[in-house]
Symmetry: C2
């Protein structure tokens, strides 16, 4: 995903002409640059106090836009050094979902102060939106939706939309609710524009709606938006009452975030909450150390296997030459198999029901891989130790690749079945387990075939 990336081009161009806060030409915070780029710049170049000081120089709308694009960690730091008044302005101006996110980042003192001083309407929205746990559809949604009642005509609908557009995150899809605020349909602005002014909204609207509950995971919201190519996904409670919508751009952010989490888990890293450069050294250490220590003890199994065959090794020290190669191959084949399964399960490409079929396929593919690799490695065995070593190494290769692959493909299914995240079947875990199996297989075959016991 990277060759095409330019490396923060704006940073390179602007780094030489960043004015200090208060200086005359505060050019790059002005309208000519996109807010998201300004936010990236500020985060890369300044600390929280400086960013706060810069933002205070800008008009409220622009300040809010830029603040909205700062990373969560930086929002938290900037908020911590901001005074109550500018926080209040921010909370009122931000889209409701971003305001709720910001509110959740504040200290409990700041929260209490703000709730006391905020207008009643904003307070209710904030409390409503900030009640859902992170990474749920509820935490992701905005409540700034354009709504229409049933039974009106297109002309009236367009009038209402024009009046309420300013407070809505999108008006391209408008939701139709009954008097008890239950969701009954959706109409696109496209259809409204194309219909005759007196057409009935009830006939124009689509009643078959994909919806989500507020406590469902954000991954499910992403899956639905991506699967059905939605612009927005309505969030409803158990009584079908409309609580908010999740928009496609939030879903795209979730997609990146969740892919990163899966990739980190796949390398036995506890997912980071922030960017690599913004994570503290201690948190980086902590995210990596737990699994590394656990894997040391898993690796002891291989050591015990070796200790058990110490006599075999003493009798034929040349066998150790092939140890890294054989157990490495099992680990690599296992890593491939588990990666294919974990990703297949993650994108919904394979399901639990496909296990038997995938096992059959893996047997054939891994068998062919093992044979090919045995053929590749046998001449080296021949050269280093003669026919009997070549035979031991070749046979071990087939067995080890088969074992690693079947382990790699089955572990994610097992974890999925146990309702664990299959990505926990990380490459290092599979590799380590495959290593242990490889050690035992290799030395057992050697002991037996070479008559070394």
């Amino acid at each position: 995903m990277t060759e095409e990336h330019q490396d923060k081009p704006l940073q390179l161009n602007l780094a030489t002409e960043i004015p200090m806060p208060g200086e005359a030409g505060w050019r790059f915070a002005q309208a000519s640059l996109q807010a998201v780029d300004v936010a990236d710049q500020l985060t890369a170049l300044l600390n929280a106090e400086e960013i706060s000081a810069c933002l205070d120089l800008l008009p409220l709308v622009r300040r809010t836009e830029i603040f909205d694009y700062l990373p969560d960690g930086m929002q938290e730091e900037v908020a911590a050094v901001s005074d109550l008044e500018s926080l209040m302005e921010l909370l009122e101006e931000l889209p409701a979902d971003s305001a709720a996110d910001l509110f959740n980042l504040l200290s409990s003192e700041q929260q209490a102060d703000l709730l006391r001083d905020l207008p009643a309407r904003n307070r209710a929205t904030l409390q409503h939106l900030s009640q859902y746990p992170v990474a749920t559809a509820g935490a992701l949604m905005t409540s700034e939706i354009s709504l229409l009642p049933r039974g009106i005509n297109v002309q009236r609908a367009l009038e209402i939309l024009r009046r309420t557009a300013a407070g809505s995150e999108t008006i391209y899809h408008t939701y139709i609710v009954d008097p008890r605020h239950r969701l009954v349909g959706v109409v696109s602005l496209r259809d409204l524009i194309l219909a005759t002014p007196l057409a009935s909204l009830d006939q124009l609207m689509t009643e078959e709606l994909v919806t989500i509950l507020p406590d469902q995971h954000q991954e499910e919201a992403l899956r639905l938006i991506s699967h059905y190519d939605l612009l927005a996904l309505p969030v409803v409670d158990e009584n079908q009452r409309l609580l908010g919508i999740v928009t496609y751009d939030d879903a795209m952010d979730v997609a990146e975030e969740e892919a990163t989490e899966d990739i980190h888990r796949g390398a036995s890293i506890v997912p980071l909450e922030d960017g690599l450069l913004r994570t503290s050294l201690f948190n980086l250490f902590r995210s990596r150390v737990v699994w590394l220590i656990l894997l040391i003890f898993a690796n002891l199994v291989s050591g015990v296997g070796i200790a058990f065959f110490e006599d075999t090794i003493s009798a034929k020290v040349a066998l150790v030459f092939f140890l890294p190669l054989l157990i490495g191959s099992g680990g690599n084949a296992g890593a491939q198999a588990s990666t294919l399964m974990v990703r297949g399960l993650a994108v919904g490409d394979v399901g639990l029901g496909d296990w038997a079929r995938l096992l059959g396929r893996e047997l054939l593919v891994a068998g062919a891989l093992g044979l090919t690799m045995a053929i590749a490695v046998s001449p080296i065995g021949m050269f280093r130790g003669g026919l009997d070593i070549a035979l031991v190494v070749g046979l071990s290769m087939v067995a080890i690749v088969l074992f690693g692959s079947l382990l790699g493909m089955s572990l994610p299914f097992l974890l999925h079945r146990l309702k664990w995240d299959p990505a926990t079947a990380s490459t290092p875990l599979v590799t380590t387990l495959a290593d242990a199996g490889g050690v035992v297989t290799y030395f057992a075959l050697a002991t037996w075939l070479l008559g070394l016991h």
Copy 2:
């Protein structure tokens, strides 16, 4: 990304009531189910001939919708067994970008036949869109855009939009072009609806546009759409003439596809073009075997290292007990470091310029990790071989974890610098190289500290 996934729920519910083609209740291909779900069902349950027969029973609009959601491989197979007439209907009804994709999947005979018989306008569009290589912005774009000339007022603009809406993929953003078809601005339907009828389009439109060239990679299109939260990204040639647009839903598909590619590359798998279950066994074998064989030879380095220290091993066979544990730890730490860097580079979180800073951070984190792991493993060394073995194992651990981590973090940067995909610094490659370094470090330290030479 998976715990929340339901396993193809519709398939489970409907599998018992799938009617045969031609049977009366062809319910599930009717409007009550979303086209994308029907496409998934058909792909899971029927072969290409059967799908083709089913589709022929449906009205053209529905048939096209469903066909558009079939996976590329299945589209190719269905097209291969379809007659020219129904292909022609499909090509005329499909959105222009999907039609171009389908056209590229056809045999050259079918292509020639179709180009002869298609209406001139469609033929020109097809040839225009199918000229760009796969995975470029040009291949992803659609040419069905709503366009407006400069200088008109809002009322006139809305009239034009109403007339042309049917042929446009989206009317929420409309592009304004000059008489030479050069892109001069964009206006949102929201702004048009909110403006007074006589307001001038030129004053309403935004002139600062993010655009892309048709031969740029689809990842760059994705990055721009995601970074700037765009609904659509205009594709222009070097003279700023508008060629088409890439829409957010296509970008979401690209996001999933590219994340899968990166994840597969990270496990030394040549990325698959199709789903796991739809890839032939031979292609699965081929996607995995190349790197496995290459890694065998990389692993030989470790073998040679061991052969070099055969006397050390013979003198102290107990050392082999710690071999898997030590080289495994180096590989695991290296896999973590490379995964963090590859993903950081992929999402633009870190750039080439951050190398020195990241190296410093990695030195500190890896040093701390190595020390912690040395402390964890030393008691085992003590227990198995006494103080001198504990010392050798502990020191080796620090050195090996540092080596693996620095290798893992540097390799992606090096590849990025050489304009290779950093994901090629896959976990198996880093692990294998770290293994070789670990073997040499361990036995060299042992030989020296234990005086075994």
